[in-house]
Subunit: 107 residues, 2 copies
DNA sequence: GCATATATCTCACATTGTGGTACTAATATA
DNA sequence: TATATTAGTACCACAATGTGAGATATATGC
């Protein structure tokens, strides 16, 4: 369709917003798992991030090594303008379909 | 993943709730187009309804012919218990990821 | 019967979602 | 130096969802 996000894409972009400067694969996954109870495979996260980067929805930057017992460098992600727009459109669409419905149906 | 709905599936189930007794392919499509501005091909609607019926999310019943200049019988759909549950889970997941974020990011 | 209106069905292809496995790059310890 | 350990990312095949074009069906009006 262009312009509208899939369900998992939404969760990832929302995680970026929540995490701010600290958004990278592992923290994104943890944020979604903690807040939604859904269990998320780390592979899906990277795949989806990579696809959204190609579409211009997110941008990434490799971080510096941190002194916490080694490990590969983090790849930090942040929301790009196109991603913010797509997110807004998508949230608005669902919200407009929800408006006026009885709360017990929609909570 | 099971238990969580795709984006378009959500819109269709919400349309069922909005339309009540009058939910059938054409009216579902119209409701989504009018409220979201998104344009929806009628084929997607039927395909998605049929898949959700197989999963037990919706049920259908063939209507009687109506006297409005002919036409094929309508197939009315309504939300089943499993669909209501999946819808709630999905909406809740997005809502929990949205909570506390600045409104301008999330509206 | 034939025309026309309303509606559904089918199907191939595109996009998104998923999770297992492999790989890479850092520090620690010796 | 090298080996172990930890943290993190990349890859990839397959499944589920999304999409749209075109075909088909069933009603009424004449």
């Amino acid at each position: 369709m262009g312009q509208f996000l899939g369900e998992f894409e939404q969760l990832i972009l929302l995680a970026l917003l929540r995490l701010g400067e600290d958004a990278y694969g592992v923290s994104i996954r943890a944020e979604i798992e903690q807040r939604t109870g859904r269990d998320v495979s780390i592979g899906s996260v990277y795949t989806t991030l990579e696809r959204m980067e190609r579409k211009g929805y997110v941008r990434s930057a490799i971080g510096q090594p941190t002194p916490e017992r080694g490990g590969r460098r983090k790849k930090y992600y942040h929301l790009a303008a196109g991603g913010q727009a797509a997110l807004s459109h998508t949230l608005r669409a669902v919200r407009s379909m929800t408006e006026g419905l009885a709360p017990e149906l929609v909570e």
